[in-house]
């Protein structure tokens, strides 16, 4: 994500996602007209077959956790701990920060957890506007109280 970019508001678009009126985020993806390969971030050329005939589409906001981790020693410039998940979003595999907690600490939602994408920011220097995954209520891993902050 572009670090200098403000969090998109209702109906606004970031480089990689848009935020809907209910706060949900949709990813700006593209699909190859020739081989149907799905890409996020959107690409001008297909990384699989080389075609430049690409169609844009929006993916999400509903997604499923493929795998997760709570990171305690992370990348420079990121406040730890933070939780990351690989998500299956329609035809895409996408990395996202995920907002869950067990005992006040970021937790790793298990594979299969249903999540929804929202616009938000992550604790980095400088702060980054991005999309976040928040578990759908009613599962073992509940969203943190400040998940929508």
């Amino acid at each position: 994500m572009n670090a200098d970019e403000p969090i998109p508001q209702d109906g606004e678009a970031s480089q990689h996602f848009i935020v809907c009126s209910d706060g949900a985020a949709k990813l700006k993806a593209s699909r190859c007209v020739r081989c149907a390969g799905a890409w996020f971030p959107a690409r001008s050329g297909c990384g699989a077959c080389g075609s430049t005939a690409m169609e844009d589409f929006l993916a999400g906001p509903d997604a499923t956790v493929y795998a997760s981790t709570a990171v305690h020693v992370g990348a420079r410039g990121f406040e730890t701990p933070y939780a990351l998940s690989y998500l299956d979003v329609e035809d895409l595999r996408v990395l996202a920060h995920v907002r869950t907690a067990v005992g006040g600490q970021p937790a790793s939602p298990p594979p299969g957890t249903a999540v929804r994408l929202f616009g938000g920011s992550i604790g980095s220097t400088p702060p980054q506007a991005t999309f976040l995954a928040i578990p759908v209520a009613g599962q073992d891993h509940e969203p943190t109280e400040d998940a929508h902050a």
């Binding site: 994500m1 990689h16 390969g37 799905a38 890409w39 996020f40 971030p41 990384g47 699989a48 493929y66 795998a67 997760s68 981790t69 709570a70 990171v71 305690h72 020693v73 992370g74 990348a75 420079r76 990121f78 933070y82 990351l84 998940s85 690989y86 299956d88 035809d91 895409l92 595999r93 996408v94 990395l95 996202a96 920060h97 937790a107 790793s108 298990p110 594979p111 992550i122 980095s124 980054q128 991005t130």
Partner: protein, 384 residues
């Protein structure tokens, strides 16, 4: 193509060596290699050096220190597979007949980068979001444990095994065995991985001499045949991916076995890329050494111990030896060479004839790894 031989190997003890840059470390290995081989510098036709953080012309700076300057010299960057890639290029040079005697080396000083997770490539959508390699392998670990109902203790036991092996290796960064409890209680890095599930950032260098059969006969000591030398890149896509199946390793392995005319069951020992404890389980399966989803059970049954069915990382692996990124693939080949020629000392396994080495790595989005290199070495009755 001609047969290619490993005719010499050298590396000094890995560890924290902040005062020595990559080229200085590499030069030390080259001095040891040339002394062991008994060859004058003028016999070297080309030199390939693997390094990710060693800087421009690292290999020239190293080779100048042993009187090798003038012939072609290349520095190769392929992330964790840099050293394996340097060997592959050296192999190509000898196999094609354009060179008879070639050095492949790898060297890295990671102390200069400070502690913590290694920095990854900028301008990558996942790296920009805070991805680090421990997190990537932590997620693979969570999914593996989930898919195959494996106990987390299997991860601990990989570290215990490899640290036990490393306790016998005079060149390892860590030469002390650890208990399951020590692994489990070590600092959390990225759930479910703890500190002792992760290889250390290490400074070190290693070098091997690759040659034609004719030169191998001249060299002091022993030689083993390179039965396969393979490099593959990761297949790029951003759709569904089974992250418990390292496709790049599986593809490289299929090619390597075909090139060698061997099956996984022919392999007597393996030095594979255990940058994290989960890596050993994933890669053992992708290399075909054990069935899908069965590596954890094999490990827990002792199959991969030094006295087991198939010793995996008898040197201690990256978890003990350390991981000076570009040097690792070359150090693995040194260990395999010493095993096949009966020079492995306390690490020696009984009469191995076929050894496989494997490095893979590179954290860029859209691939399981950026580059992977596999080599298969085989004894030669006359030369080994």
């Amino acid at each position: 193509m001609r047969e290619v031989y490993v005719a010499g190997a050298a590396y000094r003890t890995f560890g924290k060596q902040p005062a020595k840059n990559a080229a200085v470390l590499a030069q030390e290995s080259l001095q040891d290699l040339m002394m062991a081989a008994g060859l004058p510098p003028g016999r070297i036709d080309a030199t390939y050096g693997g390094s990710t953080f060693g800087g421009s012309l690292m290999t020239q700076r190293a080779a100048q220190g042993i009187g090798v300057s003038g012939p072609p010299i290349f520095t190769v960057e392929n992330a964790c597979a840099s050293g394996g890639s340097a060997i592959n290029l050296a192999w190509q040079a000898v196999a094609s007949g354009t060179a008879d005697c070639v050095i492949a080396l790898g060297a890295e000083n990671l102390s200069s980068l400070g502690g913590g997770a290694l920095p990854l490539s900028a301008q990558d959508v996942e790296v920009d979001s805070g991805m680090v390699m421990p997190a990537a392998y932590a997620m693979r670990a969570q999914r593996y444990l989930h898919d195959f109902a494996a106990p987390e203790s299997a991860l601990d036991l990989v570290s215990v095994k490899n640290r036990e092996n490393g306790s016998l290796n005079p060149r390892a960064h860590f030469q002390q065995s650890v208990s399951e409890a020590q692994v489990r209680d070590s600092r959390a890095i990225a759930d479910p991985l703890h500190l002792m599930h992760c290889c250390p950032n290490t400074d070190g260098a290693a070098a091997v001499l690759l040659s034609s059969r004719e030169v191998a006969r001249e060299v002091n000591g022993h030689a083993v045949r390179v039965a396969a030398s393979v490099v593959r890149s990761g297949q790029f896509h951003t759709s569904y991916r089974d992250m418990t199946w390292p496709d790049i390793t599986a593809r490289a392995a299929r090619t390597a076995y075909a090139m060698a005319g061997l099956q996984p069951s022919d392999v007597d020992l393996v030095e594979l890329h255990d940058a994290f404890s989960i890596s050993e389980l994933l890669h053992a399966e992708a290399l075909g050494l054990v069935g899908r989803g069965e590596a954890y059970q094999g490990l827990m049954d002792g199959e991969f111990h030094r006295d087991g069915r198939l010793p995996i990382n008898p040197s201690g692996g990256l978890l003990s030896r350390g991981h000076p990124v570009g040097a690792t693939g070359v150090a693995q080949m040194c260990e395999a060479y010493w095993q096949l020629t009966g020079q492995a000392g306390d690490l020696q396994t009984p009469n191995p004839r076929v050894a496989l080495t494997h490095v893979t790595g590179g954290g860029i989005f859209g691939v399981d790894n950026g580059a992977c290199s596999i080599h298969i070495l085989q004894t030669d009755e006359e030369l080994s």
